[in-house]
């Protein structure tokens, strides 16, 4: 099934506008609120199941997608297309955070970011060879996790004092026990095979107050993917992701000791809930020095991640100037104190 969002006014294709949060028509400028948009105007075409080729209702061209795509645009007439059969049943996302940063804003923000690159080569900073900027709704699993924690440890408190010619070190040993419950909610893990895990992790955090119930019109005009991994398959990854959080929480409950040695640490993590959500990401592909560099921008907060090229000349320059100025400060202090060598 393929969806087109037709303008009730003029009949053109509408797409999601990140600024207003509405569907907007590029021909007549009409705005339609997503909640009140009448479904009559959604043009539905049914295709054979699991098809990889769809036909654009507008121009009749063949919309060729790869197996994971859930939203794209017709390569011929650019009309936004949502592939509804890939968004239903098990594949129906529960929630979505819509884009709040438009393509132009994303591009401007990326250029600004490149200009601030203190260690990147000069040619890179101009950002004039950006190949493409693509808005993608990336599939994520959002987990609510309950942690059942039991900790046995030995804590010590050390006190030192002097009596006469002797220094006494007094060590008190304590038997420490904690039974804890720690809940982490809406921990996101990207479920797309194509996306680099490290890159996606660094895009966090998202502002969850803008988390909306999923509706297909949000996808109009963007690319979207369906998940490649189920929530069960990614459970190990989310578990390792919260590991350090749990450790910090445990430590925060055991305070006032000089040292703590753990005898036993049982952490049982249970998934309470997992939601399939789509989160907005701008992918920026930049050709520089015969290599393609990939950057990702949080489509909601504008945070940019991705490794830019490093100019060794600039690294050397920064290193030497920082070291030289630190040494100069030391030298001045030394001279003020009169400790000239």
């Amino acid at each position: 099934m393929i969806l087109h969002y037709k303008c009730p006014n003029c009949g053109s294709d509408m797409k999601y506008d990140s600024e207003s949060g509405n569907l907007s028509c590029s021909s007549c400028g009409n705005n339609e609120h997503i909640d009140s948009y009448d479904e009559i105007h959604i043009e539905k075409t049914f295709e054979e199941e699991e098809a990889k080729e769809y036909q654009c209702e507008n121009c009749g061209a063949v919309v060729i997608t790869d197996a994971d795509t859930t939203a794209t645009s017709c390569s011929f007439c650019r009309a936004p297309v949502v592939l509804a059969d890939r968004l239903s049943g098990d594949l129906a996302p529960a929630r979505v955070i819509p884009f709040t940063i438009s393509k132009e804003e994303a591009m401007a923000a990326f250029k600004k970011w490149c200009k601030n690159g203190r260690l990147t080569p000069k040619g890179f900073m101009t950002a004039d060879r950006v190949k493409s900027v693509t808005g993608i709704y990336v599939p994520f699993w959002m987990y609510d996790l309950d942690n059942d924690i039991e900790v046995k440890a030995t804590g010590t408190k050390v006190r030192t004092y002097t009596r006469g010619d002797y220094r006494y070190t007094e060590t008190h040993y304590y038997d420490v026990y904690r039974s804890l419950e720690a809940r982490y909610v809406k921990v996101p893990v990207d479920a797309s095979e194509k996306m680099d895990d490290e890159l996606m992790d660094k895009l966090e955090p998202y502002n969850y107050s803008e988390l909306k119930d999923f509706k297909t019109p949000y996808l109009a005009g963007y690319l979207a993917e369906k998940y490649n991994y189920t929530d069960e398959q990614l459970f190990g990854r989310v578990k390792s992701k919260i590991q350090s959080f749990v450790d910090t929480y445990i430590k925060s409950t055991i305070s006032g000791y000089t040292s703590v040695t753990y005898q036993q640490r049982d952490i049982r993590t249970k998934p309470v809930n997992s939601d399939y959500v789509l989160l907005p990401v701008w992918m920026v592909y930049y050709d520089f020095d015969k290599k393609e560099h990939t950057f990702a921008m949080n489509g909601q907060t504008g945070k940019i991640v991705g490794k830019p090229p490093v100019s060794y000349k600039k690294v050397a320059l920064w290193f030497s100037s920082i070291s030289a100025s630190v040494y100069a400060i030391f030298l001045i202090i030394t001279l003020i104190l009169g400790g000239g060598y």
């Binding site: 904690r178 955090p205 290193f319 040494y327």
Partner: protein, 257 residues
Amino acid sequence: MKKVLITLLLLFAIIPFSVMQAESKHVYDNADILTESEEQEIEQLAAQYSEEKEIQYIILTADEIHLQRRDVVKYMGDFYDEEAPGYDKPHGDTAMLTIDMENREVFLSAFGERPMNYLDDERLTQIREYITQDLTNENYLAASKKFFEKADRYLEVNPIINPDSILLKWWFQVLIAVLIGAVIVGTMVFNLGGKVTVNHQTYFDPKQSRIRNRHDRYVRKTVTRTKIPKNNSSGGSGGGGGVTGGGRSFSGSRGGF
């Protein structure tokens, strides 16, 4: 006539003073442990250093006869009271190296507000430890020279810092500067791809998290004791400053050799 008389009087008033300044002695080798030429050399050096830092350097040696059963500190104090040395005035700024040949003890002392500040007990101890080896080897010329050199440098260095501190060594400062540069630039390179900005509280739900059960039970205690080492390096006692019989205070450091 009257004018001439006043001028003459003034001249007489100044001459003895300037003569006394020029003749001010720095070496009192009562124990006769220095040769004639050594004495001259030290005298010359002392005069030089004295002028430079506006402090009177004195090398004082004593044997059984001069000590008259007095302690080296008492002997040094009596000497200062009687001879009234000082660069700026009698009983003025003075740095002294007193060598007691009878008990083979050395005492370093400083008089006056500025010298006592810049050459406090601790710093004098550092100098004493530095020269003790030469004294043991009976190389009194070298010991005196080193005393002048060290004291001269210490008088320049602000009292808030140990003049021999590693913090003042150029190679240490270069090392630290290079380390700081490396750490800062290293962090910059590391964070180039974007920082992780979530922490343990980002996804934590305090409403549904709790401490179900806890206890902290005292089990036992152990006590260990170590003897506090006395800092009496190079054999002698630490000593310190004090007040002379005439009521003049000084900083000092005492030790054997």
